[in-house]
Assembly symmetry: C3
Homo-oligomer: 102 residues x 3
Amino acid sequence: MKLYRKKRIELVVESACAKAIIDMIDAAGAKGYTVVQDVAGKGNRGIRDAMHLTGLFRNTLIIVVAAEDIALRIVERSQTLLENYAGIVTLSDVEVVRDEHF
Amino acid sequence: MKLYRKKRIELVVESACAKAIIDMIDAAGAKGYTVVQDVAGKGNRGIRDAMHLTGLFRNTLIIVVAAEDIALRIVERSQTLLENYAGIVTLSDVEVVRDEHF
Amino acid sequence: MKLYRKKRIELVVESACAKAIIDMIDAAGAKGYTVVQDVAGKGNRGIRDAMHLTGLFRNTLIIVVAAEDIALRIVERSQTLLENYAGIVTLSDVEVVRDEHF
């Protein structure tokens, strides 16, 4: 079984800007992403709790697996989009089997 | 504190085949897994949205931490199970404290 | 774009002890964390299913990104807190853009 190296990007963003982030991910060339809605958390703008706040303050967790060049583009562009929002963006190494899907 | 190297497998699969994937994970020898139900996403079969589609089209995120041999077995077997389904499977390195739990 | 190396800690714990774990994460010096409530799973204490069990037996997934010293402190302290609970704690390498947020 051959494995291919890709990058995994994990973004935790205010749900209010999740749509803009996802549109950017699409435009950057990623073939797919996973979205976990209504996560809670404490970030650089204070506590965000899925239980007690309105949609505006909920966080969304987005996972993208992509080739390195696309991944770096997503990380870079996310910084502009998140300038006025709370957001955590991390990049890490993963391996996949189906090279052509990413 | 001693840390042990294990593999983390992240699978995002159509919820319709999540049960078959979990049964396979058990049979492959993993001692545990975590399941996040009703995630949304866009994969190699188009957009899947937790808000608008029925259970049949929702995705499920499954995380497994296991020794390398078990992890590779899970990745390999997942390919057969996912042949007719959308699915993303990634493998990465993690460290754990409790060696005996994996 | 400069990237900085940090550690990502992923904890899957019984929801009954999630509050204690989060308080510990705060006390350990982490600037943020993400919480995914009501995840299901099978761990070293048997099957935990978000569908069928009460709040006491549900699991919570917590993600922390932090500098290495803080991350190791969190992993170490989690072992004491989880002594009587089911829990999976993994540590892995990630890169971030905003060094000052972690």
